[in-house]
Each structure stands twice: as structure tokens, then as C-alpha cells.
């Protein structure tokens, strides 16, 4: 394998990992605080993608498309948390089953509203084309996704570790009851974090639309990858999601290049192995 192909595969892995981080960071934030395994996260990704594409087509503004994707899915998240999930708080299995029901509904409504044809985001000219990096060309958009993921990681770090809001959220993660007793309106924090996590899923859908096709079934694909990432990294840990995304992104890129016959297997096998050896993941707290 030449150095150029090696570098291309590494960049492919890093940029795909970046997209995975956009999806899985929201998933893991929601789990970390609310203890909800949100199996509707993939459907939220799909909704965000379709709404974003529709807005982008109507306004031809990429930024507006992204804002619409994140905003609409955040509202959807607030609705879900307030009307449905809240009623079964603390009953893990009921919560998971509810999100399965919600994902069935959302995915089917997307099919009804936006059809079954694959859609894609036509990347704006500023992000289109490729850049030449030391002798080989690489798509600019993929570098943009990787940069966006790194920026998000920094923002999330500062937000959770350096602000009062972040301290409140961390307090809620560590001990809901005590945080509540200390005067934190934990229910509002719950809704806020769910909305934020959902917004990230919606944004990821629109951003992902520039890299992957958006079509029925894409929700399940991305959900499963996000699950793998957070299980490898440790459920609830943002740091784990970052490292897991990078790892799975790289594994995916290299296995597609080297052993395309087993591409699916190579992503899920490490997860199964890790669950067997260390069920709490690389950075998760022991259950």
C-alpha cells in the first residue's frame, strides 16, 4: 500500500469518524444524563437531513439548512421528551421500547413526506472540490466535517467542564436526586439536554447528507454505528464517543479498503468483543 492510499484511508476514517461523532455525541449526552437509550436517534438524523435539504433547496443557504435541521429536530426532541418519555422515566425498558415506536413512526412519515429516492446535499461551492495535500487531492467537504467534529468536541468540553450549566449537567449525571434537592430544576435540564442531543442528530443528518446518501434505511444504519461507537467508548462518556468515533471511523475505512467482504463484521465484532471483555466500554463507568 502506497503512502498516498494510506493517507487517503486515514483521512477517510477521520472524516467518517467526525460524522459519527456528530451523531454519537448527542446519543451519549442523552444517555449520560437521562439514562435513555434513544433508539429514535437515527430517525432524528433522518428527519434533520430531510428538513435541512428541503430548507437548503428553498433558500439555497447552507447555513440556513443546517439551522433548520438542528432547530426542527430540537423542537421534535422537546416534544418527545415532554409528552412521551417523561411518563415512563426511570423504567429503562419502557423507555427503549417507546423510542423504537417513535422511530418506526418518524421513519415512515419521512418516507411519506419525502419519498424513497436517495437524496444528497449539493455542497456549496466554498466546500466543494478538493484540496491538494502534499501531492494528492482530497475532498474539501470531508475535511470540513472532520474540522466541524473537532470544533464540536472543543465546545462540548468547554461547555461541560468550564461553565455553570455544564456543572449542573454533570451534577445531574452523578446524582439526580441530590442535584434536585440542591435546587436544580432537573426536569428542565433533562428536556434541555434531550433537545440539544436531538439537535446534534438533526445537524448530523444534514451534514452527513453531503457525504452519504439520505434514504429510508439510512436511519437504522447510522443508529447502529452510533450504538457501536458509544458502546466501544462507554455509554454516557463524551470523551469515549470521540475516541470511539475515531476508532470505528478508521476501522470502517480500512476494512472497506482491505477486506470489503467483511466490512460490516469488522465494525460490529469489536463491539461484541468489548461487551464481552469490558461491558462498560473504554471510558464508561462500571454499571
Amino acid at each position: 500500500m502506497s503512502l498516498t492510499t494510506l493517507a487517503t484511508q486515514v483521512l477517510n476514517g477521520v472524516s467518517f469518524g467526525g460524522l459519527l461523532f456528530l451523531v454519537s455525541s448527542g446519543f451519549t449526552l442523552i444517555f449520560g444524563l437521562l439514562r435513555v437509550v434513544n433508539l429514535a436517534h437515527g430517525a432524528l438524523y433522518l428527519v434533520g437531513a430531510y428538513v435541512g435539504i428541503a430548507t437548503y433547496t428553498a433558500t439555497s443557504s447552507f447555513v440556513l439548512g443546517a439551522a433548520a435541521a438542528a432547530g426542527s429536530v430540537a423542537l421534535l426532541g422537546i416534544g418527545l421528551e415532554r409528552t412521551v418519555l417523561r411518563r415512563v422515566r426511570g423504567r429503562e425498558l419502557s423507555e427503549v421500547l417507546l423510542t423504537v415506536g417513535v422511530s418506526l413512526v418518524l421513519a415512515d412519515l419521512c418516507l411519506a413526506l419525502f419519498g424513497g429516492d436517495p437524496k444528497q446535499v449539493d455542497v456549496p461551492s466554498a466546500l466543494a472540490g478538493s484540496v491538494t495535500l502534499g501531492g494528492f487531492a482530497y475532498p474539501r467537504y470531508r475535511l470540513f466535517v472532520a474540522a466541524l467534529a473537532i470544533a464540536l468536541a472543543v465546545v462540548l468540553y468547554v461547555l461541560t467542564q468550564r461553565t455553570k450549566l455544564g456543572a449542573t449537567i454533570r451534577a445531574g449525571v452523578d446524582d439526580r436526586e441530590i442535584a434536585n434537592a440542591l435546587g436544580v430544576d432537573i426536569s428542565r435540564v433533562f428536556t434541555g439536554v434531550f433537545a440539544f442531543g436531538a439537535a446534534l442528530a438533526g445537524l448530523a443528518g444534514f451534514i452527513g447528507g453531503g457525504m452519504l446518501a439520505i434514504l429510508p434505511g439510512a436511519d437504522v444504519d447510522i443508529l447502529l454505528l452510533a450504538l457501536v461507537v458509544v458502546i466501544v467508548g462507554g455509554l454516557g462518556s463524551v470523551k469515549g464517543a470521540a475516541i470511539g468515533s475515531l476508532l470505528i471511523g478508521l476501522i470502517d475505512a480500512f476494512s472497506k479498503a482491505w477486506i470489503p467482504d467483511l466490512a460490516y463484521f469488522t465494525v460490529f465484532a469489536p463491539m461484541a468483543l468489548l461487551l464481552l471483555l469490558r461491558p462498560s466500554g473504554l471510558f464508561g463507568k462500571a454499571a
Binding site: 437509550v37 412521551v84 411518563r87 415512563v88 429503562e92 425498558l93 419502557s94 427503549v96 421500547l97 417507546l98 423504537v100 415506536g101 417513535v102 422511530s103 418506526l104 413512526v105 421513519a107 415512515d108 412519515l109 411519506a112 437504522v220 447502529l224 450504538l227 457501536v228 458502546i231 467482504d261 467483511l262 466490512a263 460490516y264 463484521f265 460490529f268 465484532a269 463491539m271 461484541a272 461487551l275 464481552l276 461491558p279 454499571a287
Partner: protein, 322 residues
């Protein structure tokens, strides 16, 4: 007084079960071939749902990858048919595939519980799906394997129907016996408190492993019925959607209830096959139904019936007391 009540209950049970038997036996005589085939599909799907319900009811372990085990069995038969093996060979290959895949699920159950088991089985199901998709020399890839006919005495739709019902009934009766056996009691003990059972000296790991293996075996049987019914298997039979629908069946029917999975399978298959011809948005209907059941009727359809019956009985009961 209690003796008479007991005799009355026995009489009702005998009456209800003989009515059910007559109804089951009458299906091929009264319904069209299409409907018989549909009921058979319900039975096969119901059997897979029963296998999920075994673990959900006794151990609170919800498998979101059970279709993976059924698919392993189906692919086993399909491959053996392609190799020209006789029936016994086909069944052996199916059994081997089922047991190997089940053992992986069972091994996973030792390390995980609750939502972690759910996600682990989801991943395992997707591994089976991925392998079915990619190992095209064995599995036929995206096109799957076709021409997997049941043995000659089961080729007619009514023959296959009776055979499927017989398998389902035997499994359900056997499982009811197991539930009441010491083995079943230990499982329920593990569900209530794993650590307490461990300190009582029970080998919790061995019991969990055995329970998942039994459930996997039943899932394999369901895979066999399904593939003989459609005479075809493709990767989607192992997919997330399939496994999720099976869990939906269990929840709609009533998790932990003996008849729940079969009732749930009837609801889901009917929605999927019949409602879909009139109403294109049937997944929406199914999703909403799941949300409604989880929120307002956690006992599912069968649990709701039980509740209705006991509320009807209550006045009579209070009368004898007063």
C-alpha cells in the same frame, strides 16, 4: 365452596381449550388458501416471539437480535439444500448453525443485563445480517437462497399449517412445564435478584446460559418454519427491522404472558399483510400502537383482557365475602 369453584374453573378451562382446538383444527376447512398461509405465518412469527418472551418474561432480558438466530437456522437449511443433503442432513446443519449462534448470544448474556443485553443482541443480529450479506458464496448475498421446500409430507398448505401449529403448541406446553419446574423457579429468582441467587449457591451463569440456549433453539425452530413457509431466505430476515418487529409482537401481546407473543404476532402480521394493502402507512400505525401500549397498557393485549376479566369478576367475589 372452594372445591366447587375449582371444579368450575377446570370445566371452563376444558371448555375454552376444546373450543380453541376446534377453531385451530377448522382453519384449513373454513378459510381460503391465502388465509391459511397467513395464519401459518402468524404461527411461525409467534414461535419466534415466544422465544423472545421466554427470556423477557423469566429473566427480563429483551433480545433485539433474535431474528439473527432464526436466520442462522434458515441459512443452515438453505445451504444444506443447495449442497443436496437429505432432510436429516439439512436439519443437522440448521441445528448446528442455531446452536453455534445461540451460544454466542448466551455467552453475551453472562456479561450483560438490561439495556446492555438489548444492545449486545442488536449488535449480534447485525453481525449475522452483515455475514449473510457479504459471504455471498455461502448465503447468496443480497439475493439470498431460494427453493428451500419443506419435506414432501408437508408441502400442502394445510399439512404445513397443522405441522406448524403442532410445533408451536408443543413448545408452549413444554415451556409452561419448564416454568413450573425448579429450573424455571431459579430463573425467576435470578430475575428478582441475581446476587441473592448467587449467594444461595446457584450457578447463575450456567442457568442464564441454559435459558438463552433454550430460547435460541426455539428461535431456530421458528427460523425453520419461516424458511419452509416462504421457501426463501435473504439477509433482511436477520435485520434490525425483523428483530424489532418481534419485540413489538411480544410487547403488544403482553410480555411474560403465555399467549401474549402469539396474540402480538397475529396483530403485527395482520397489520403488515392485510392493513398494508388498504393503508400504506402501516409502520406508523404499528409504531403508534407500540407507544400507546407501552404508555397505557404495559400488560399488552392479553394483560388488558386479564384486567377486564378480573374487574368483571370482582363484584361476584365481594358478594361471597359479604
Amino acid at each position: 365452596m372452594p372445591e366447587r369453584a375449582g371444579r368450575r374453573r377446570l370445566l371452563t378451562t376444558v371448555l375454552v381449550s376444546s373450543l380453541a382446538l376446534v377453531a385451530i383444527a377448522a382453519v384449513p376447512y373454513t378459510l381460503s388458501t391465502f388465509s391459511v398461509s397467513l395464519v401459518t405465518l402468524v404461527v411461525a412469527a409467534g414461535l419466534l416471539a415466544v422465544s423472545v418472551n421466554m427470556l423477557a418474561g423469566e429473566l427480563m432480558l429483551v433480545s433485539l437480535g433474535q431474528a439473527g438466530i432464526a436466520a442462522a437456522s434458515a441459512y443452515g437449511v438453505g445451504w444444506a439444500v443447495g449442497q443436496g443433503y437429505p432432510l436429516a442432513g439439512q436439519l443437522l446443519v440448521a441445528l448446528a448453525a442455531t446452536l453455534v449462534v445461540s451460544a454466542v448470544y448466551a455467552g453475551m448474556s453472562l456479561r450483560t443485563s438490561g439495556i446492555y443485553f438489548l444492545m449486545a443482541t442488536l449488535a449480534l443480529g447485525m453481525i449475522v445480517y452483515g455475514l449473510a450479506f457479504r459471504l455471498s458464496t455461502v448465503t447468496g448475498g443480497e439475493n439470498g437462497l431460494a427453493g428451500i421446500a419443506p419435506p414432501a409430507p408437508l408441502r400442502q398448505s394445510w399439512q404445513f399449517y397443522y405441522w406448524s401449529v403442532a410445533v408451536l403448541v408443543v413448545v408452549m406446553v413444554a415451556w409452561t412445564v419448564v416454568q413450573r419446574s425448579p429450573f424455571g423457579l431459579v430463573l425467576r429468582g435470578i430475575r428478582e435478584s441475581e446476587s441473592r441467587m448467587r449467594s444461595l449457591g446457584y450457578n447463575v451463569a450456567a442457568f442464564k446460559f441454559a435459558a438463552v440456549m433454550i430460547s435460541g433453539f426455539v428461535a431456530g425452530l421458528a427460523g425453520l418454519l419461516t424458511v419452509w413457509h416462504s421457501q426463501f431466505v435473504s439477509p433482511s430476515s436477520a435485520g434490525f427491522h425483523r428483530s424489532a418487529l418481534v419485540v413489538v409482537m411480544v410487547i403488544l401481546g403482553g410480555a411474560g404472558r403465555t399467549l401474549g407473543p402469539v396474540v402480538g404476532a397475529a396483530l403485527v402480521v395482520w397489520t403488515e399483510q392485510v392493513v398494508s394493502t388498504h393503508f400504506e402507512r402501516w409502520p406508523t400505525a404499528l409504531g403508534l400502537l407500540l407507544v400507546v401500549v407501552v404508555l397505557w397498557a404495559p400488560g399488552g393485549f392479553v394483560g388488558g383482557l386479564e384486567a377486564a376479566r378480573s374487574s368483571l369478576r370482582l363484584p361476584a367475589h365481594s358478594r361471597t365475602k359479604g
